[in-house]
């Protein structure tokens, strides 16, 4: 259960204020809010760590990857998990995709992970996890900007 009705209403209003395209394309809350992990960690299937290349070196970032807020660094971070850059977001048997979003300055803002159903799962910063029907739901401004890169890795079927 993700909170009581009043809380759910409050959270949904907040989410829809900041990510209005979700209203158009559809989403649902799937986990309670927590500051223990963020979107990058969730995309990496880690719900115990906050991943970010912060300049004070307080949060987790793969040691072998440059600690910088660039699309390339984020690609390298997921390459350490077996992902490779690919084209398209269509569900493909035997593969799992992630999508890196970036703002107009090409700075990464968010990462989403595709589910076996073809829909996507995202951790919205310090907010809840959501399941969203497509990648467009989190694009825009307000929103996470645009999709900068899609990656995929092989998974057991």
């Amino acid at each position: 259960m993700v909170g009581n009705n009043a809380w759910v209403k409050f959270v949904r209003e907040k989410i829809e204020r900041d990510y209005p395209n979700l209203i158009v394309y559809g989403y649902k809350l799937t986990s309670p809010d927590t500051i223990d992990y963020n979107c990058v960690a969730w995309a990496a299937e880690d719900d115990e760590t906050w991943w970010w290349p912060d300049i004070q070196h307080q949060f987790y970032w793969p040691l072998s990857v440059p600690r910088e807020e660039t699309i390339e660094a984020f690609q390298q971070a997921f390459e350490t998990l077996g992902y490779e850059v690919c084209q398209g977001d269509v569900l493909e048997e035997g593969f799992q995709r992630i999508a890196i979003y970036a703002n107009s300055n090409k700075v990464p803002t968010h990462i989403a992970r595709q589910l076996p159903t073809g829909k996507w799962t995202s951790k919205l910063g310090s907010l809840e996890d959501i399941e969203h029907n497509n990648l467009q739901g989190l694009t825009g401004n307000p929103g996470y900007g645009e999709i900068a890169c899609i990656m995929k890795k092989s998974i057991s079927v």
Binding site: D18, D54, Y60, T109, L124, G125, S126
Partner: protein, 103 residues
């Protein structure tokens, strides 16, 4: 007079915390979160807000690690715990207790 000053500090702090949380909820970038004007103003309030930050940390209201490090010039979190928010929180709360802070 001292009590009034403390009250004013707390009131200002609370207002800034509320603003910061409201405006950074969906952000994953700790750089962006920490550069937010309200967060920077909290850092600028200096050492008097350390116990208030520790209370916020205990209440899991947000990531206050950058602020605590900036104000105290210390970081009690072992390298192996980077990003492990629960362990980071424990380390800072223990640090606060060892230095006699009450919150």
């Amino acid at each position: 007079m001292e009590e009034l000053q403390i009250s004013e500090i707390e009131a200002t702090f609370t207002t800034l915390v509320k603003q910061w949380r409201e405006e950074t909820f969906g952000i994953s970038s700790t750089n962006q979160m920490s550069m937010h004007p309200a967060y920077q103003q909290i850092i600028g309030m200096g050492k008097p807000v350390i116990p208030l930050l520790l209370r916020e940390l205990e209440n899991k209201s947000g990531h206050w690690f950058w602020a605590l490090k900036s104000i105290s010039r210390e970081d009690p979190v072992p390298q192996e715990y980077r990003g492990k928010v629960k362990e980071m929180t424990k380390a800072w709360l223990e640090w606060g207790k060892q230095r006699g802070y009450r919150w």
